[in-house]
Point group: C2
Chain length 304, copies 2
C-alpha cells in the first residue's frame, strides 16, 4: 500500500489527455475512488455547467451538446457502464478514463491509464487527464502538486501521530471542508472507510453554520467524534471557521495545507488524508488494501 | 413548533409562481433550511443543467443563458445576497423566493411567501414555486403530497416511539438515502441538527457501496450510531440495500415511504423526518425552535 501511496507524485506528472470538440455542458460519471476525481475536478472547473453522477442513470438534458466522461479505473463498474450506455444513446460526445475492462471496449475515445493499483490509489492518473484536457492553463500546477505530495512521502511523522491518537481514543473522524476542498473532505471520509475500515463523515462551511453548528455545542456522542478542518480559507469563510469553533466549543484540529496553486493545495490535503487513513489502518491492525466486502457485493449483484 | 409542522400540508397547496423566459441552465443559491428546497428540487428536475450553490460565489459560466434563483426565507442570508449580486452582474435572468428582507428589495422578480415561520418549517412555500414554475406537469402531485403529509400529522405515534428509542439509546442517526431521496436524507440530518441539537450524518446508495460498506462491518463506534434507510427503491438499488445490510451486518431500520408520485413520496419522507427530529427534541428536553448559536454567529459575522 505504501508503494501505491508513493506513486501519486509520479501520477501527477502523467501526460494523458482525451480528445474532445466543443460542448455546452459536462457530465462525469464515476463511483467511489474513481468518481472522486470528477468531484474534485468540479470544484476547480466552472467554465460550463458540470455535473457528477454516481448512479446508474443520467439526466434527461444530456444530448449532443454534452461532453460525457466515464471514469472507472477497472472499466467494469456497473453503474458507470450503465450511465455510459445511456449517454451514448442520447448522442453525447463521449470520453472515458480507464485502465481497461468493458469501458475500454465500448468507448472508442478511451484514455488508457496504467493498471494494477487500487482505484483509490490511482487518483492522480484519473484527475490529470481532466485537468490537461479541460483546464490546460492549470497544467503547470501539476508539477507543484507533485512536489508538495512528495514532501509528505518524505515527512509524515506528524500525520502518523495524529492517526495513532485518533485510533487510541476510539474516535470517528468528522472532516469539515469548504470550497474548493469539499470533495477532499469527502475523499478523507472514504479513505477512512476503505483503508482504516472506520466510519467517517464530512460537512462543509458555510453550509454547516446553518444547521450542524446547533448540534456541535451540546449533542450527546460528540465525545466519540474527532473534528478536523483545513487551513487555507480566506475572507468570510475564515471568520466563520474561527467563530464556529469558538461558539460551539468544538475541539477541532487544523490540518495544514501547503502549496500555492489550488491544485497543489488540493493534492496536498488529499495525500495527507491518504497517509492519515493508512496509519489509522496500521494502528487498528487492519489491512488497508482489503476490500473483500465490496468484492463480495459485486459478485452477489452480478447474479441479478 | 407543532403548528409550524402542521402548516406543511397547506403550504403544499400554495399557488405562487415566478416569471421566467427561456434559459439554458439553472443555478439556485440558498443555505440551510432555504437551500434544501433547491437541493430536493434538483433531484426531480433534469430538463437542463441545474446547480445548487450554498456559498458566497457562483460559477463563472453564469451568464444571460442562466436562470438564477435566490432562495432565502428571511431575505437576509449573506451568502445568498452575495451570490445574487454576482449573478446580476453577470447578466443572468434572476428570480427570488423570499418572505422579504434585502433580497425582496434588490430583486424585482421576487416571489413573496408568507413570513413568520422558522425557515426550515417553510419548505413547502419554497419548493412549491420551483415546481409550479419549472415543472408544471408535476403540479398535480402537490395535492397528493399535501394528503400524505396530513396523514402524518394525524398519525405519528410510531415516529414518536422511534425518536424516543433513538434518544434513550443515546445514538446518533445516520440516514442512507438514494436518488431521488438523497436530499431528503440530508434534510433529516439538518433537522436533527437544528430541532434536536443532535449530530447526524447521511450517505447514499449506490455510492456508499464503494466505500462506507467497508466500515459498516467492523468500525469501532458503530454501536453509537443508528442507521436508517428509506423504502421505495427499485431495481439494482433495491438489491444493493438488501445485500449491503446483510453483508455488513448493520442493524438498519427501514423508514416506510408513502405516496404514488415522486413529489408525494419526497414530502412524506421529509415530514417523517420533521416529526422524528421534533420528538427527539422533546425527549432530550431541548427547545426545537431554538437556534441561538446561529443567531450569535450572524451577529459576530456582521461586524466584519
Amino acid at each position: 500500500m505504501l508503494d501505491e501511496l508513493k506513486s501519486l507524485k509520479d501520477q501527477l506528472l502523467f501526460q494523458g489527455k482525451f480528445d474532445h470538440t466543443d460542448f455546452k455542458n459536462i457530465v462525469i460519471a464515476g463511483m467511489g475512488g474513481s468518481g472522486i476525481a470528477g468531484s474534485i475536478f468540479s470544484e476547480i472547473y466552472d467554465k460550463s455547467p458540470i455535473e457528477i453522477i454516481s448512479d446508474y442513470s443520467i439526466p434527461s438534458y444530456v444530448d449532443s451538446n454534452t461532453l460525457f466522461i466515464a471514469i472507472s479505473y477497472s472499466g467494469n463498474t456497473e453503474e458507470t457502464i450503465s450511465a455510459y450506455r445511456e449517454a451514448e444513446r442520447k448522442g453525447a460526445q463521449t470520453a472515458a478514463i480507464t485502465s481497461g475492462g468493458t469501458i475500454a471496449k465500448i468507448c472508442r475515445n478511451s484514455l488508457l491509464i496504467p493498471s494494477g493499483l487500487q482505484p483509490r490509489s490511482a487518483l492522480g492518473f484519473m484527475i490529470v487527464p481532466l485537468i490537461l484536457s479541460l483546464l490546460p492553463d492549470a497544467s503547470k500546477d501539476l508539477k507543484e502538486a507533485s512536489k508538495v505530495v512528495e514532501n509528505i512521502d518524505f515527512s509524515n511523522d506528524r500525520i502518523r501521530e495524529e492517526a495513532i491518537s485518533l485510533v487510541r481514543a476510539r474516535k470517528l473522524p468528522v472532516i469539515m471542508g469548504f470550497k474548493p476542498f469539499e470533495s477532499v473532505a469527502y475523499r478523507w471520509q472514504t479513505q477512512f472507510n476503505e483503508n482504516s475500515k472506520l466510519l467517517a463523515f464530512s460537512s462543509s462551511f458555510p453550509e454547516l453554520d446553518h444547521n450542524q453548528i446547533m448540534a456541535l455545542e451540546n449533542s450527546y456522542g460528540k465525545e466519540n467524534l474527532a473534528f478536523y478542518y483545513f487551513s487555507g480559507s480566506s475572507g468570510k469563510v475564515r471568520e466563520r471557521i474561527k467563530f464556529t469553533i469558538d461558539l460551539a466549543g468544538v475541539d477541532a484540529k487544523q490540518i495544514p495545507v501547503e502549496g500555492n496553486s489550488r491544485i497543489a493545495q488540493i493534492m496536498h490535503l488529499v495525500h495527507y488524508g491518504d497517509y492519515f487513513s493508512y496509519y489509522a489502518a496500521l494502528e487498528r491492525k487492519v489491512e488497508p488494501r482489503d476490500v473483500t466486502t465490496i468484492e463480495k457485493l459485486k459478485k452477489l449483484l452480478s447474479q441479478f
